[in-house]
Subunit: 202 residues, 2 copies
């Protein structure tokens, strides 16, 4: 046999092509052919590495979910060095607000997948269920820590506030994607809301 190629690498290459194609023309417009062209391989190869389109779409969704996890974790780590809970929470929530083009297309395709997974039975959207649950607990824990440190208002319910925070950042992120708001405006609102949870100490 020839080159004896690294399957995972090739698969990743093709999936990335799919995501780029989806970002440009929408997930609904993705076709075997468009992916092949974008990846600069033959359609046959796409078939070879992902038998069917359904499997290709599924693999791309999984990769997307993984990347989302990495993105958030990177934010946590970067903010975590200078470490106070408010900074960490802020960093995590800002991930949902797309600023540059890369972030914008990423979240756009992610959202398209999320919405698609509701109606498409082949995409039983499990990847979209686990992550937010984890996030909710994580944020609640950070809020509790902040309260104990005296940084956050003590009368708040951490669990509920965590849900509100996630909803706010999701809602703001979506509004930015839909061009209803600029990323700056969304960021400002998010800061404002955080200010209501973490009162300034003079």
């Amino acid at each position: 046999m020839p080159k004896l190629v690294d399957h995972e690498e090739r698969r990743a290459h093709i999936i990335d092509a799919l995501l780029r194609s989806a970002a440009r023309n929408g997930l609904h417009a993705v076709t075997m052919r468009s992916v092949a062209i974008e990846a600069d391989v033959s359609v046959r190869l796409v078939q070879y590495y992902f038998d069917t389109k359904e499997q290709l779409l599924l693999a791309a969704m999984t990769r997307l979910a993984t990347r989302m996890g990495e993105r958030v974790q990177r934010r946590v780590r970067t903010a975590g060095t200078t470490a106070d809970p408010r900074g960490i929470i802020e960093a995590v929530l800002l991930e949902a607000v797309p600023t540059d083009e890369e972030s914008r297309t990423f979240h756009l395709v992610y959202t398209e997948y999320a919405v698609l997974s509701v109606t498409d039975p082949a995409l039983g959207g499990q990847p979209f269920l686990a992550a937010p649950d984890e996030m909710e607990s994580f944020l609640a824990a950070q809020l509790t820590a902040a309260q104990q440190a005296g940084d956050a208002a003590p009368h708040l319910d951490p669990r509920q506030e965590a849900v509100v925070l996630l909803a706010v950042s999701a809602g703001l992120g979506l509004s930015v994607l839909l061009n209803q708001r600029t990323a700056d405006a969304a960021t400002t609102v998010l800061h404002y809301h955080l200010g209501r949870i973490f009162p300034d100490r003079a």
Copy 2:
């Protein structure tokens, strides 16, 4: 000529068929044929009343946006009779949380359209830009009124709080659509958050 039919009525009938079809199998799966079957007319008729598929999709989107406005206004009127600002705000925001099946499919298709309009140039999503802007002003005004009546915390910025409220309800609504949360859970969180804006007076 025969029956001399009411065009607007027929168009409405076909559009409703499209929306039902989209609700069941996803907007991406809508085809001339599926709409025709759902409306129990021939494909030719769909062509007759909406020349092209693009125009059909556009008309349905417009109708959807109109209905959304009616839905919100109905909430305002229903709550407006017993009239305090908090009740009105609550009613409006609860519209975004789909409880029954009808509401769920409505919001699902609406969201699918909103996301689609980002990538599809033919659907330059204007209908999705004007409405949220109006809502924001409306909510800000209600909040200001509530503050003057002494019902809402006076130190809040009405404009920013209005944006936060819209983002929260959009985020919660989306999470319900994605089956991340039940409608009840979302409602509870919304009430909690309103409780932070409208402190209980003993």
